[in-house]
């Protein structure tokens, strides 16, 4: 919500809807003069003007919402782990899915790390990628806590599909330090063949710069480097990439970069879609 209001983009915020009329989110939307409802998806379906819906419910709820939204011709940007539509990461494959009616944003760790794996993989095949996504305990909600399996599976799948790694692992870590830590991510990319180190580093740095254009708090911690590690495939060069995401502080505290990268990526996807529809309209006129 804050990102749509703050940015002068292609979208107009028509409605914020939830299921709890007393929720803080809805109260904040009302304060900003935005139309709200506590009738969940019903309120969205009543408004034929709404073309893009951001669904931040749960995987279970999204499975029910997705077919209904599709029927009404509304595009769903799925921020849950339901993964009904294709995974999208703005810097990697958003333009491949401009006509999709449902796209999935993977997970916070997925948005942060899959483009880094992709950046290595576009220079040299990544044989094995392992991503460690660390977030402050306070920023991890009950949904994730009750289903760690889902995060692991979805993120590892995306590291393969979007990142391009032949084999992938994803491991979440929750750290309760006080004061809360910023979101940090590490990527290990094991390479089996000879490669141009400088080209890999440059590729990673350039994608990080691209990401920071829509997630301003996204940065690399130091330059990526190569470390030799004992692996099941022998002693191999491993590209190590460390990253930090500081949130914009719109709604969540700045340490919750994991939440911010999801909303910022969702905003980016929505904005590109809206731009795409607007230009298509002009052409038909």
């Amino acid at each position: 919500m804050y990102k749509i209001l703050k940015n002068d983009g292609n979208m107009e915020l028509a409605l914020v809807t939830g299921i709890d009329s007393n929720s803080e989110g809805l109260a904040r939307a009302r304060e900003k003069g935005i139309a709200t409802s506590h009738h969940g998806i019903e309120a969205i379906l009543e408004d034929s003007e709404i073309k893009i819906v951001f669904d931040a419910t749960s995987a279970k709820a999204h499975k029910l919402n997705a077919p209904v939204l599709r029927e009404q011709g509304k595009v769903a940007v799925d921020m849950t782990p339901a993964a009904i539509g294709p995974f999208v990461v703005p810097t990697v494959n958003l333009h491949d899915h401009l006509e999709a009616m449902n796209v999935n944003l993977i997970s916070c760790g997925g948005q942060a790390t899959t483009p880094l794996v992709h950046a290595v993989n576009r220079i040299v095949q990544v044989h094995y990628a392992e991503v460690i996504a660390t977030a402050a305990s306070l920023s991890i909600g009950p949904g994730t806590r009750q289903n760690v399996d889902e995060f692991v599976r979805t993120t590892a799948n995306a590291v393969q599909q979007i990142g391009g790694a032949s084999i992938a692992r994803a491991i979440p870590v929750f750290n309760p330090a006080e004061p809360p830590i910023n979101m940090t991510n590490s990527v290990y990319a094991v390479i089996k063949e000879e490669f141009d180190e400088a080209a890999v580093i440059e590729s990673v740095q350039s994608i990080a710069a691209e990401i920071s254009s829509y997630v301003p708090g996204y940065r690399l911690k130091g330059a990526p480097f190569v470390d030799y590690r004992e692996t099941p495939w022998g002693r191999l060069p491993t590209v190590v990439i460390m990253n930090e995401v500081i949130g914009a502080g719109d709604f969540f505290p700045t340490y919750a970069g994991n939440l911010d990268i999801m909303t910022a990526s969702a905003y980016r996807v929505g904005d590109v879609y809206a731009g795409h529809y607007l230009s298509a309209k002009e052409v038909t006129r």
């Binding site: 806590r145 750290n175 590490s186 480097f225």
Partner: protein, 337 residues
């Protein structure tokens, strides 16, 4: 004093100390001795729990499923246990280990994050496993917080919850407070797992027993992450002297420690600068070998990395922060990375 149940975790915690290199033959020989000696529970898995074979934690040379299988086949009386860390392992690996015949699952999380264990306790119970909750890095939280977290695990179906001194940072008063608080709050059993960074692994374990602990851990010759654990054979000797009849055969354990474990050690585990600074800073013990690797690569000191990791309050599973700290320290010193 009541007779505690002893779990030997040479083949799990000790896995860190041998850089995840156990072979099926070694597991067979060690389980055979522990089983014959009458040790009631033997833990076998990657040091970081099921599915821990990763870059972050260190790759295993042999599949842990092969090792678990051999252990299950070999043990006549002992129950085989595995460690499970949510996020490193998933339901899939939990099911597979259960199918291989483990009897006990020990579910480990940082001691403030008990609520991520619910789905795994429920699944383990469904699969008929005995369950133990492992509150790692217990030195970081006061007794009252640990008791709350332990109660969550009890509500999910834990049969026992351990105070785990992952960093070997607790002294005896701290052990007593924590174990007593859990005993008071829970109706299930309470355990204690020690590390020896401050030379207190045996002493702390005895203190835990005095405070009412029902289950304790040891490893042969103390073979475990970092400064290692309470040596199982020493623990049994001490319990004998205290007239606590464990029924465990000390002679077999002494022989196994001397003849089977000592030869596996790259060097004897002593409380050297790395281990002491790790315990003193409250850093997770399995970080040690990774810290040494990073210190060498970036030309910085082991102790200074430990100190900074302690300051940043790193938790189990954050080996990647070691690299981050080492790079930052190197940059500060003007060493080109």
């Amino acid at each position: 004093m009541k007779i505690p149940r002893l779990t030997d975790t040479t083949l799990r915690d000790g896995d860190h100390a041998v850089s995840h290199s156990y072979t099926p033959e070694q597991v067979r020989a060690i389980v055979k001795d522990l089983d014959e000696a009458g040790v009631p529970v033997i833990e076998v898995s990657h040091g970081s729990g099921l599915n821990g074979s990763t870059i972050q934690q260190g790759f295993s040379i042999h599949s842990e499923y092969d090792l678990i299988k051999v252990a299950v086949e070999t043990a006549k009386q002992a129950k085989i246990a595995s460690l499970f860390v949510p996020g490193i392992g998933t339901s899939k690996e939990l099911r597979e280990a259960a199918e291989l015949g483990i009897s006990v699952l020990r579910i480990a999380v940082h001691c403030t994050e008990a609520d991520v264990t619910e789905q795994y306790f429920r699944l383990a119970k469904e699969l008929g496993l005995e369950t133990v909750g492992f509150l790692m890095m217990s030195h970081t939280q006061p007794a009252s917080v640990l008791a709350e977290q332990a109660k969550l695990m009890e509500s999910y179906g834990a049969d026992c919850v351990y105070v785990v001194d992952s960093a070997g940072a607790l002294v005896q008063s701290g052990v007593r407070e924590r174990v007593s608080a859990l005993k008071e709050a829970l109706s299930i059993q309470v355990g204690f797992h020690a590390h020896n960074n401050l030379g207190l692994a045996i002493g702390n374990t005895i203190t835990a027993l005095e405070a009412g602990a029902d289950q304790i851990d040891g490893t042969l010759r103390g073979l475990g992450a970092g400064a290692g654990n309470a040596p199982t054979e020493v623990l049994v000797a001490v319990l004998n002297k205290m007239n606590i009849e464990t029924g465990i055969n000390l002679a077999i354990l002494m022989d196994a420690a001397e003849e089977k474990i000592a030869p596996l050690m790259q060097s004897p585990i002593v409380i050297d600068r790395g281990n002491l600074s790790s315990g003193y800073a409250g850093v997770y013990n399995s970080f040690l070998l990774h810290v040494k690797h990073a210190a060498e690569k970036f030309g910085v000191g082991v102790s200074e990395i430990m100190q900074e990791l302690g300051k940043r309050q790193a938790v189990a599973g954050q080996e990647d922060w070691i690299l981050d700290v080492a790079v930052e320290l190197a940059e500060k010193k003007g060493i080109k990375v």
